[in-house]
Subunit: 309 residues, 2 copies
Amino acid sequence: MTVALELAERLLQGDVRALARACRIADDRLPGHRELASRLHAQGRAGWVLGVTGSPGVGKSTLCDALVTRFRQRGERVGVVAVDPSSPFHGGALLGDRIRLQRHFEDPEVFIRSLATRGAVGGLSRSAADVIRLVRAWGARVTLVETVGVGQDEIEVSRSAHTTLVVLAPGLGDGVQALKAGLLETADLFAVNKADREGAERTAADLEVALELSARPQRPPVLRTSATQHQGLDELFVALDEHRAWLGTPEGDERTASREREAIQSFLREELGERLVLALGQTLPAAAERVRLGELDPYAAAEELWLTR
Amino acid sequence: MTVALELAERLLQGDVRALARACRIADDRLPGHRELASRLHAQGRAGWVLGVTGSPGVGKSTLCDALVTRFRQRGERVGVVAVDPSSPFHGGALLGDRIRLQRHFEDPEVFIRSLATRGAVGGLSRSAADVIRLVRAWGARVTLVETVGVGQDEIEVSRSAHTTLVVLAPGLGDGVQALKAGLLETADLFAVNKADREGAERTAADLEVALELSARPQRPPVLRTSATQHQGLDELFVALDEHRAWLGTPEGDERTASREREAIQSFLREELGERLVLALGQTLPAAAERVRLGELDPYAAAEELWLTR
């Protein structure tokens, strides 16, 4: 048995250290990562994936911390995948793991993993998908995916969730206006966090208006929470459970299936694109240079490369 | 002569209505858009491209408005390409054109175009590149590209500029921490706008620290401006001119060339990827469905598709 397959077996038995190692292998695309992905593919479809997204500073981490506690009280095994914009200023993902969710670090039934954005468009959602698959194969009943809802990449990540919770807070200068159109349309629930602060009702009202203006047939619930004050968490938890139950209906099941189809197709497109670039080798940069020098126009270059592939 | 080629000739003669029509053709990928791009490719490399980016609310539009006025005072023809996150709440690109830069609308030497984000990763930077090429071919001496510096897509757009100005403002809750790593490293100049407000010095100081911590050999200038109070604009204008002059040096020229190389290669990769998907037709979704049902693992599916391409 190869090292990767042995690791996969240990992971499937719920070994958390095997999971941590598998995540590093997937993250850095180390040897064996494809073998791992192949072996765990069918097993990486269990459990519920909850996406939690919102601008920096809305209190996502505190809210996630409270949610993890609730899930654990019910005895559910929990995975947390935190997607960090890698700002060098606050240490990004490196520090992130240590600061957030501290009190769950000792709990062997909670696995926490931070992913940093890498620069390349699309790379993040792919790494996140790999890690989410591993966490699910490990046996997480709930996989919580925390993203910063500002970029397209993060929206892609949140689309890979079964349920998406968008967190807002009053007094952030941008508020509802900063919500990307995609999030307003794909979110399943909204939480206006820091509800004890000034402006919270205004933020909630703005959001209700925006949702009314949007073309959604059914308006998603808008909850008021204060994670630090432990307010509104029961209601949020009930609303999350309701959505989780809906996923089991034919309608919910069809939505999950259609998102999976989309995600797999997008993975295949990327993978094939990479193979094509690899197959072209130096022909691609050579053609690009001729385009740059004005000897060839870009579409003619694409045609030429396509024919010589 | 085809309609597209006729349009290209009129555009090259400086006809602003031809430019507006060409932008619509490029934006919606209407028939003739490739012909247009091919014809105008070599001409679309003139002039200076200035990227202006920053979070929502920092006052980018007011600053851009002041810059356009300055360029026009020198008699330079100006294009403005504004990249909007398409929030349905404030009307996104549709309303944007009308609100921003109102007083330049009557000036035939200023062309303003808003682009909305479309959802797909990468699509935005491609549309923006098309429009920027058209504006330069029309004869803009300065093409100002205004983006909201929150997503990866917007960073890609700002990388296509010769000079990138990042605008910050005090009191936005996120401040320097929200600056993506990419922007901290690629920006050529920083402006702390709303410098008359409380907290401006703190924001500037935070930024200086972040720049010191970053691995940049030379620290870019950090300017204080207040676009509404007309403060610091002379200094900003001088700093921009200095960078524009630097672009003419061998070092500056090499940087522009290397960015062009990167942009063309990324265009070619995307274009070839699209052709591949088109060539695969229904084979791709069929393979994706088998992956979803667990009959095939994703990497095996990619291999199979690659061999049958």
